[in-house]
């Protein structure tokens, strides 16, 4: 750790001791889970670099951006339109929510029966260990599920710069209208924050930049349809995770390099796992860094994960935003259209998600689907029953898992996953 980093963390108000512990846990987990993988594509060393500097170099970059007058906006959800943030001369970063932290403190604010992701978001704040959050000029919450909606009320008492966006729960004209008016309200808020007037050119540039990084990840995803799969699910998940806070230009460039290597691998018929490894699609709740628990169990058991139907995955990054509009209004409509297509389980009914899972299972040639549910996440847990039925009707085996961020149930999960993989053979 450089002194420069420590000085920066201290200026950001981090609890250095707790933060050191966090980084050491993170680095050990990365060693054990990522660096122990066999047969990784060489170009994934990019991920190693990013992860080793997750709270270092990237934060330094963001601080430099701030010095140059840009603003940093933190978010917890893929409904926050990055195009608008970029257009207003600000940078969007995903905030930490992938590990348990300061659990005792968290339980003073939130009931125990809250999903790990929400508890983690608060834990990182209360423990003062998320430099992305502490460095943000604005934190955007969104009224998705009950837990988050209420959690943002709590968080707004703890941070000075909370902004909450409303979301509709239905895919109707009226629902779209609500999203549209909320995106316009957000545009205003962003302009107020940065003092930068967004015009058509600025928004188009924002759209293009975000589209470029989406195209890179789309390319990566499409290469995973190959059999044998050229990259592990763990590495692909990591790409999806750092997608949310890496520098977008560098991300696109580096991921394309990885794709070049993967194409060569596919040409040689070379996979990361043996050709007969069961192919698994994971669907359900998002997995934020360093939540690698279930993919690690699945791939250690000899299967390969070929796709993620998740916010940190294809649900979050699929579809680009139409760039062709002339006026600001036309471009805004395109942004609204793109985000209104996200099939989050807070929508009712939400048949598009099931369609998407079926489509992904087919496209990625999955032998089975693992539905990943976080305990107490009602929207996804409730949908999991219907999803299971729809998939099984099509002859696709499903394993429904319900877990949290602790490691206590790892052994049990491992047994269930292994039994499921047996069934697929």
């Amino acid at each position: 750790m450089s002194d420069e980093n420590r000085r920066m963390w201290s200026e950001l108000g981090l609890n250095l001791r707790a933060h050191d512990q966090l980084l050491s846990v993170l680095s050990n987990a990365y060693q054990d889970i990522y660096l122990s993988q066999q047969n990784r594509p060489e170009s994934t060393s990019y991920f190693d670099d990013v992860m080793s500097e997750i709270h270092g170099q990237r934060i330094q970059e963001l601080m430099r951006e701030k010095q140059q007058g840009r603003k940093i906006v933190g978010s917890y959800c893929v409904f926050v339109p990055e195009e608008i943030v970029q257009a207003a001369n600000a940078t969007l970063v995903g905030l930490c929510s992938g590990a348990d932290f300061a659990e005792e403190e968290v339980e003073k604010y939130l009931p125990r029966n809250t999903c790990s992701l929400i508890k983690s978001s608060l834990g990182f704040k209360l423990g003062r260990v998320c430099p992305f959050l502490e460095g943000s000029d604005m934190i955007v919450g969104e009224n998705t599920c009950d837990g988050k909606k209420k959690f943002y009320e709590t968080l707004s008492d703890l941070v000075p710069n909370m902004y909450v966006m409303d979301l509709p729960q239905m895919k109707s004209q009226q629902g779209r209208q609500m999203l549209r008016s909320e995106f316009y309200r957000f545009l205003e808020a962003m302009q107020d924050l940065t003092g930068f007037q967004v015009d058509a050119t600025a928004l188009r540039n924002g759209i293009r930049m975000v589209n470029e990084k989406r195209k890179a990840i789309h390319r990566l995803q499409s290469l995973r349809t190959a059999d044998p799969a050229p990259i592990s699910g763990l590495d692909a998940l990591l790409a999806n995770q750092i997608f949310l806070y890496e520098d977008p230009r560098r991300f696109a460039r580096e991921v394309h390099k990885i794709c070049d290597e993967l194409e060569q691998r596919i040409e040689r018929g070379e996979g990361v796992f043996p050709a007969n490894a069961p192919r698994i699609l994971v669907s359900g709740c998002p997995m934020a860094v360093p939540n690698w628990k279930v993919p690690h169990i699945v791939e250690s058991a000899g299967a390969v994960i070929v796709g993620e139907e998740s916010c940190v995955g294809e649900r979050g990054n699929r579809n680009t935003t139409e760039e062709e509009g002339e006026s600001l209004e036309e471009l805004m409509e395109a942004v609204v259209d793109r985000y209104f297509g996200i099939d989050c389980a807070i929508f009712t009914p939400n048949p598009d998600r099931t369609e998407h899972i079926l489509d992904m299972a087919k496209r990625y040639r999955a032998d089975g689907v693992i539905h990943y549910g976080l305990q107490f996440c009602q929207p996804y847990l409730m949908e999991s029953f219907g999803v299971e039925k729809s998939l099984e009707d099509k002859g696709i085996p499903v394993l429904r898992l319900e877990t949290d961020y602790s490691q206590e149930d790892s052994g049990q999960l491992q047994t269930r996953v292994e039994a499921f993989l047996e069934l697929l053979k």
């Binding site: 003073k108 604010y109 939130l110 009931p111 029966n113 809250t114 009224n143 599920c145 009950d146 837990g147 909606k149 209420k150 959690f151 943002y152 009320e153 709590t154 909450v164 409303d166 979301l167 509709p168 729960q169 239905m170 009226q174 629902g175 209208q177 609500m178 008016s181 909320e182 389980a345 807070i346 009712t348 009914p349 305990q375 107490f376 009602q378 929207p379 847990l381 409730m382 949908e383 999991s384 029953f385 219907g386 319900e402």
Partner: protein, 385 residues
């Protein structure tokens, strides 16, 4: 059940006969709309010539059946509601021609997707906030869409006059019930919390609220004529019960409070005073807008932020001279349980009162544990008094 007030017996009878009356009304051609929530605008349903009726969801019996298709980590109210429908054991559900659901919490919106496979289920979509104009516009359009739907469904036009008539009726009943609730502000509350609960239940199940109002008025006269003079020593702790909905079958906390000698003088929940919180404007040129405005202000934690609930509780604490607040969350009911930490701070720090948060379900497995906790809580209040 024998009562010290004769009109209360009549009210009980109205509640007990609600199903019979519903069947009769249906035979005479009325359509029945089943509802689960006080966001469903009964006035509009009645103006369409239909009858709204609250559906079952307060008992544990059908929960095991519900858990075959719903996660166990779901609030008992939703599991029970779905279970009753799936096992065809709710007689009101059987009478209902359709269900009007509402997008309050995550659990319910997903449950309605499943319920729709059993009976046609139309969802009223709520905005996540009641504080903005755009929230109100969104909700007003939902009300308009519901009106269009009801007109198509019944083949009957809904006139403004009819809506106004129903608003004025419902305001009258609401005011009477509110006055009855208000008698518990007296030093010697004439009615117990359980009695209040039964009166509110009669209101949500009877197809004839006018006859309820008649006896409610009589009840008011009865209690007033027998009002005891104040002796200044109100010895039993005056409790406000808030949180998730409570009703016959899911009233174990209320019963425990009364067994332990406390007076639940104010039931703040949806099944209690919260449903009477609204007095709908009658001077509005567009009565549908008046409905939308008032319903959206319902102090439900599905709204964020939910200042209305905090203000409402603060008012009740003052009016009913509350000494302690019991906040009940059904297990896995996220909106109420997450809001409890904010409520706890307000009650303890700003109002300087005792506060107890309970989380439980419909089973009786924790009754003794709850009893011990409530006992300790009440002793604390008595010590402070």
């Amino acid at each position: 059940m024998q009562h010290h007030y004769q009109s209360l017996q009549e009210i009980d009878r109205i509640r007990d006969h609600a199903l019979l009356h519903l069947e009769q009304a249906r035979e005479q051609g009325s359509k029945i709309v089943g509802i689960y929530c006080i966001f469903a605008p009964g006035e509009l349903i009645r103006a369409a010539g239909c009858i709204p009726v609250g559906l079952c969801g307060k008992k544990e019996d059908p929960i095991p059946e519900a858990e075959t298709v719903l996660p166990a980590n779901l609030c008992p109210l939703i599991k029970s509601s779905y279970g009753y429908a799936a096992t065809d054991t709710c007689p009101y559900f059987a009478q209902a021609d359709m269900v009007l659901g509402e997008s309050t919490c995550d659990g319910k919106i997903k449950m309605f997707e499943l319920l729709n496979e059993i009976k046609h289920c139309r969802i009223l979509h709520l905005p996540p906030t009641s504080r903005t104009d755009s929230g109100l516009r969104y909700w007003y359009r939902e009300i308009l869409k519901l009106k269009d739907f009801l007109e198509d469904w019944t083949g009957q036009r809904i006139s403004h006059t009819a809506v106004r008539r129903e608003i004025s009726r419902s305001n009258r009943i609401g005011r009477t019930l509110w006055e009855i609730g208000g008698t518990c502000q007296w030093d010697h509350p004439p009615l117990s919390g359980s009695e209040m609960m039964r009166i509110f239940e009669a209101n949500s199940s009877t197809p004839y609220p006018e006859s309820l109002r008649y006896y409610a008025d009589r009840l008011l006269q009865e209690v007033a004529s027998r009002r005891r003079s104040t002796n200044g020593t109100a010895s039993r702790p005056r409790i406000l019960l808030t949180g998730s909905p409570v009703g016959s079958g899911s009233d174990k906390v209320l019963q425990l409070l009364e067994q332990l000698g406390a007076q639940a003088v104010a039931l703040e929940n949806c099944t209690g005073l919260k449903s009477l919180y609204r007095n709908i404007r009658e001077d509005c040129s567009d009565p549908l807008h008046a409905l939308a405005e008032r319903y959206l202000q319902t102090p439900c934690p599905c709204m964020t932020p939910n200042a209305n609930r905090f203000n409402f509780i603060r008012d009740l604490v003052r009016q009913f001279r509350i000494q302690g607040v019991v906040d009940l969350s059904w297990q896995s009911c996220q909106p109420y349980s997450v809001e409890s930490s904010t409520l706890s701070r307000m009650i303890r720090e700003r109002l300087n009162l005792s506060y107890l948060h309970l989380e439980t379900d419909y089973s009786n497995s924790d009754t003794e544990q709850l009893r011990t906790r409530l006992q300790a809580f009440l002793e604390l209040i008595e010590d402070n008094a």
